[in-house]
């Protein structure tokens, strides 16, 4: 097992792999979903699958915020970006996400003023510098990112910056997990819970998974050892007949989350009755919009939006990938028509998307592990 040597603590990894194997009941197949795209990235990068016994499989979940933005919302964002005097600002990850009428990159090439920013606060700075322009921030992300957007809106309100608004596409993780649990396609035995989302929401909101669905969830860190340890914790629960929420990442995730972050989200935003997720369809109460009190900062009220629902391309199987029903390489266009340079679906765009992660590392890792195990 030479390949474990690249782990920070190879002995620990070896011991965990052995402990995991010994906890598996012979003949039983275990399926665990890693909800967060950051975990998917680690799993492919380090070939974690290859350290697990054959009857344990990890399936990828919907926790990549770039991946779940539906085509119609990209078109709406581009419609805003192409209005007169608008500067659209966005995280770099959004630039290639395909909408029905192309991506931000295409719109920029055609002349729209679209700028990449690191933080919503950078977007606010652009608004201060360009009082004659209308500066819009394309807000995406789960509960990890929503507090930052909310803080930025509060700052804009406090400073009276009138030419700044957000196009709010924040989504919430719990309804997506519920939708997956209710989906008949998939039988899961447990969840590797998202690390950074949980720094905000804490561990309690996952209780229903343990109580109502009788499945373990372990909030996990992002290093290979964290993931192995979380798999081990889930298997321990199953072996002992328990279903609980546990926190493997307590060095970063407080059990109760971040009260201030939750409070600023609640101040600025409220739940939408429903929102469309790419590949998953409409999920009720699964996304946030700007509250009436902050209407002047809401791009959806300032600009006329087409608001047209655009069906995903026929060839695209992102929905199945996001629900963990198929693996990226099982999609017919994977690696041929759909690559990170020419993505058809969103999972190929962000480095946290399952298809991109597998495209970038998967085959390489398999090759490497094969070589290593031969030696």
């Amino acid at each position: 097992m030479r390949f474990v040597d690249e782990f920070r603590d190879a002995d620990k990894a070896r011991a965990l792999a052995a402990a995991i194997a010994s906890l598996c009941e012979p003949g039983r197949h275990y399926k665990f979903m890693e909800v967060c795209g950051g975990h998917t990235h680690t799993i492919y990068k380090h070939g974690i699958d290859d350290y697990l016994p054959e009857n344990v499989s990890l399936v990828h979940g919907p926790g990549c915020p770039v991946c779940v933005i539906p085509m119609g919302r990209v078109d709406d964002a581009i419609a805003i970006a192409t209005q007169p005097d608008v500067i659209m600002t966005t995280f770099g990850d959004m630039m290639r996400v395909p909408g029905g009428q192309g991506s931000f990159f295409d719109a920029k090439a055609a002349g729209a003023d679209i700028r990449m920013v690191y933080s919503p606060l950078d977007s606010l700075k652009i608004a201060r510098q360009h009082p004659d322009k209308r500066v819009v921030f394309m807000a995406i992300g789960f509960e990890t990112t929503a507090p930052s957007t909310a803080m930025t809106v509060l700052r804009a309100a406090a400073e009276g910056i009138e030419n700044f608004s957000i196009f709010c596409n924040h989504v919430t993780i719990i309804p997506a997990i519920k939708a997956i649990l209710d989906s008949p396609d998939l039988r899961l035995d447990g969840f590797i819970g998202p690390g950074h989302v949980s720094t905000v929401i804490g561990c309690r909101p996952y209780d229903f998974i343990a109580r109502q669905h009788d499945k373990p969830l372990v909030c996990a860190g992002f290093e290979p050892l964290d993931i192995l340890q979380s798999v081990h914790m889930i298997l321990c629960q199953l072996a002992e007949g328990r279903a609980e929420v546990e926190n493997q990442y307590s060095r970063v995730v407080p059990w109760d989350g971040n009260a201030k972050a939750l409070q600023v989200i609640a101040e600025v935003m409220e739940l939408r009755p429903y929102f469309e997720w790419r590949g998953l369809g409409f999920i009720s109460q699964s996304a946030l919009k700007v509250r009436d009190a902050y209407a002047p900062f809401d791009a959806e009220r300032i600009f006329e939006l087409p608001g047209v629902r655009v069906a995903d391309p026929k060839a695209c199987q992102c929905g199945e990938v996001l629900k963990g029903v198929i693996k990226p390489w099982e999609c017919k266009v994977f690696g041929t028509a759909c690559t990170p340079e020419t993505p058809i679906g969103t999972c190929m765009v962000s480095s946290e998307g399952a298809c991109a992660a597998y495209y970038n590392f998967g085959r390489f890792t398999r090759e490497r592990v094969r070589t290593a195990t031969r030696q």
Binding site: R8, F91, G92, V117, K125, P147, S148, H196
Partner: protein
Amino acid sequence: MCLGIPGEIVALSTDHADLATVDVSGVRRAVNVGLLDGEHVGPGDWVLIHVGFAMSKIDEDEARAALDFLEGIGQAYDDEIRALVESQIE
């Protein structure tokens, strides 16, 4: 954008209560620490940063381990640092 990156606080801003200068892998930039309500932070403390905001206080061992890990993941981290270099939060 989903990476949480560890940074060491080098100074708190005197003009704006929520801002602090952090050092991330040698890059010094301003971030907002207003979400760390009630938690006292000062120079020498480590925080996990996400899109220009400190999300939680972490200890130094965790920060170093996380940095080692991130430096090993390649492009996603390089992209994040490149974006941070462009950042001019004030």
